[in-house]
């Protein structure tokens, strides 16, 4: 793999960047900040570095952008997106915009083309956002909607606010303690209604205060699962969503998303289910869609596709709550991991535990040696990070499936709290959505040598699970024997100690990898391996709320380089408080965040150093191949 200096010309990049920053200083602050590249036009001014932003103020202020529908002038707005290699081959951005705007509106009924005003239903309350919302809708398949978010201020409503919020997201140092609390409160239950309903207002207020909602309802409008609030409390809102969705379906159209102020609504319809995400957390439509897809996969994983289809084909008004009973926590922990920000979901990739190649080989060999006939997949996983895999030659593993498994095993308490070995029927939709596999799970007790068993203290990060999957539901004891033999092997060749040491070591701190570079955090995704590696969250992002912001920044970067009609290879985003930088090649994706003082030049150079390091360490950071039989 080439370091960036060769192919992409870092000196050139920095020159370009310098030019741009000088123009930034001269230009007046544009009112709306965008990124786009217009090769023909004069060099566009850069966005100003916002000076007095804080997240809360911005959230309230973002409403100012609401109201502008489709602007006419799409020319040369401010940008921080830089495309070096593709700049000449990139299609005229205006053309792109026309396409996207066209796609967005083409198939809508005439009446919907103008923004619809959602007037307050007389019957019930509507969220504050809904009251004065303007609805924009995107036509089916309009990936272009995403382009709008990223490039156009013609998307008016949310684009403007997204920009400014995105800038404030970078405000790590200015984070106040109360906003930390506020984010943690996001995951608190809203509470239960009294029998006389006297506390409804309080609970509804708490419900509305949540920044993110997920709702799953059946096509017939029956609520199936909601992240916050019980069916009774929010049935009127479910009703509204259902009405809006079916209004579009009535005209043979599929509602995909709309925005109201800074709130984004995304709808994914899968078979008999509507999945809805409502987010005030500045996520892009495609990211929210991915999250909804994952929730749908979780439902399939619980029920299998044929049984889901069957339930609704015999009775369209089926109440899916009952068959899903007990799996609600899986949906909730999955949803919360999205809300907190999950690199794994964002990148659709897995993280591995960093150990020496020879050590991993030893574990692979032990897996192979102890493999039993009925084994399909064998995994060793340390706190959601893959240590080793054994799989049949003809079946690979799907990151989405593993994400569901890791969520079940490490995030939800149900398996771990069982206190023993588990035997779990699970459908892996990526592998085969029509049937169950059977999963043996047992946790390694890494503390046995050091301390008395204090399993309470064992956190997600340092629990190691052995996961053995079979298609044979009677194979529990066979797999149990395999596990025992495998653990014995690992004890003999000291693999357990190695895993333990690697866990204790944690992810590397940027400064330890390349001393002196200004980066605070990075993520590197190896595209070929569908795996990623990241630096330690410590010390800047040890709190969950700061981590969430970091992930929002990455969301933003990721959206910037992944919209369908862009050819962006390098993407830089700056605010008064921090800078972020993305770099995408066919081999990898690299994202990083630094303090505000880092020049773009320095960022680019740091990026290239980290990439070199990753490539040197590739066989330690990633599982390449794995054990295959």
């Amino acid at each position: 793999m080439d370091p960036p200096n060769d192919d992409h010309g870092t000196p050139e990049l920095s020159e370009e960047l310098r030019d741009r920053s000088s123009s930034e200083r001269q230009s007046p602050a544009p009112t709306s900040r965008n990124r786009s590249v217009s090769p023909e036009g004069p060099r566009p001014p850069l966005p100003p570095r916002p000076d007095s932003l804080n997240l809360l103020a911005d959230e309230s202020a973002s409403a100012r952008a609401a109201g502008s529908a489709v602007p006419e002038n799409l020319q040369g707005k401010a940008t921080t997106a830089v495309s070096l290699t593709e700049i000449s081959s990139q299609p005229n951005t205006d053309g792109v915009r026309e396409v996207s705007a066209g796609a967005g509106l083409r198939s809508l009924p005439e009446s919907l083309r103008v923004k619809a005003s959602l007037s307050q239903p007389s019957s019930s309350r509507v969220s504050e956002a809904g009251d004065s919302a303007s609805i924009r809708s995107f036509a089916p398949g309009s990936e272009a909607g995403q382009v709008e978010d990223l490039f156009g201020d013609f998307s008016g409503t949310e684009a403007g606010s997204q920009r400014s919020d995105a800038a404030s997201l970078l405000e790590f140092p200015g984070l106040r303690d109360d906003s930390v609390d506020q984010f943690l409160r996001e995951f608190d239950p809203v509470g239960e209604l009294n029998e006389d309903g006297s506390n409804e207002d309080i609970i509804l207020a708490r419900w509305k205060a949540k920044r993110k909602h997920y709702l799953i309802l059946s096509a017939a409008g029956k609520p199936i699962w909601t992240r916050h609030g019980e069916g009774g409390l929010i049935s009127s809102y479910i009703g509204i969503i259902q009405t809006i969705i079916s209004f579009y379906e009535g005209s043979d159209d599929h509602l995909q998303s709309f925005s109201a102020g800074d709130t984004k609504f995304v709808v994914v319809t899968r078979g008999p289910l509507h999945l809805v995400a409502i987010s005030r957390m500045l996520e892009s439509e495609s990211q929210l869609k991915l999250q909804l897809e994952a929730l749908y996969m979780q439902i399939l994983s619980t029920l299998t596709l044929p049984s889901l289809t069957h339930l609704f084909s015999i009775r369209p008004s089926t109440d899916l709550k009952r068959p899903l009973q007990g799996s609600e926590t899986l949906l909730s922990t999955l949803a919360d991991s999205f809300t907190k920000g999950s690199p794994s979901t964002l990148l659709s990739a897995l993280e591995c535990l960093r150990i020496r190649k020879a050590h991993r080989q030893a574990i692979n060999n032990a897996l192979m040696k102890t493999r039993v006939k009925s084994l399909l997949y064998g995994l060793v996983v340390a706190g959601g990070r893959l240590v080793s895999v054994v799989r049949p030659k003809k079946h690979s593993l799907h990151p989405g499936d593993l994400q569901l498994l890791f969520n079940m095993i490490f995030e939800a308490e149900g398996v771990k709290a069982g206190g023993g070995e588990s035997w779990i029927p699970v459908c892996l939709p990526g592998f085969n959505s029509s049937g169950y596999l059977y999963m043996y799970v047992s946790f390694l007790d890494l503390r046995s040598e050091t301390a008395t068993i204090a399993d309470e203290a064992a956190t997600k990060e340092d629990s190691v699970a052995i996961i053995l999957i079979s298609a044979d539901k009677e194979s529990f004891f066979e797999l149990q024997e395999m596990r025992n033999a495998f653990v014995e092997q690992m004890e003999k060749n000291e693999s357990i100690k190695i895993i333990k040491a690697a866990i204790e070591k944690g992810r590397p701190i940027v400064g330890d990898i390349v001393p002196g570079i200004p980066l605070h955090h990075f993520i590197y995704k190896s595209r070929a391996n569908v795996q990623f590696t990241a630096s330690s969250y410590e010390p800047e992002f040890s709190e969950v709320s700061k981590r969430q912001r970091l992930m929002s920044v990455y969301n933003n970067l990721h959206a910037g380089v992944h919209s369908k009609h862009t050819h962006i290879k390098i993407h830089h985003c700056a605010s008064q408080f921090a800078s972020s930088f993305a770099w995408v090649t066919p081999l990898f994706e690299f994202y990083c965040v630094s303090g505000p003082s880092a020049s773009r030049n320095a960022l680019a150079q740091s990026a290239s150093k980290i990439v070199q390091w990753v490539q040197r360490e590739e066989e330690r950071l990633f599982i390449i191949g794995g054990a295959i039989f």
Partner: protein, 283 residues
Amino acid sequence: MSDSANASKPSSSVKLVLLGEAAVGKSSLVLRFVNNDFQENKEPTIGAAFLTQKCSLPTRTIKFEIWDTAGQERFASLAPMYYRNAQAALVVYDITKPSSLTKAKHWVAELQRQASPGIVIALVGNKSDLASDNGNGNESNSSGGSGGNPGEPGPDAETTGDAISAGQDGEGNNDAIEGSGENAEEESDEAAARDARKVSTREARTYAEEESLLFFETSAKTGTNVTEVFTAIANAIPESSLKGGRGAGAGTGQTGLGGRAAEDSRVNLGDRATATAKEGCAC
């Protein structure tokens, strides 16, 4: 396994399965028994968990191999896999939820129909800490505790009744006693505040007697009666069948005996049992 252990204090394995409606406290009972631990608001079990715990009796050591199954309906079809070779079953209900006793009765019927004929079944009403009479029923509730004689709980039942009615505050106790059957469902608000019990001890005990089940009311939260249940089961399993280790009774043809844990059934089981523990495991 049992060959070597036959020495001074023989040890043998007993396969035990827990069945019952979701959220009645199956896993909590097991965790109390295995780890002497209790978690408030435990997440539902997914699939089934397999745990082991030794139980020491005066004459022998029993190693329980416990299948703690998930109570959700979608897992019900997997249950036969867990109870097929089981020598003992804990069918658990929640004393604050009458529907869970109904579900428990279904499980008992299924076990009597499908499981090994010699299976020892204990009916367990969990969450006794939520009943106002929880404090004093302890001893008397453990009907089969020492005797290991599930077939004749008669006198015990009366004692229990006495013990409860002799208990502390009047209202709660009345409720518990009269609550059998119909009354259990309707409950005055005041009583509900103090006493969440909706299944009376008498109702459940009567049923257990009819079906020749061991019967206990337990609290996984306080630990009341939890060890007693397992000890009683260990005692109720005839020594002869223990020699075979686990899973001796699979597919036996003794249909005539039904599920009633009749003594001769057990004897026969014992005869059939072999001394190899591993072989018995068909899972």
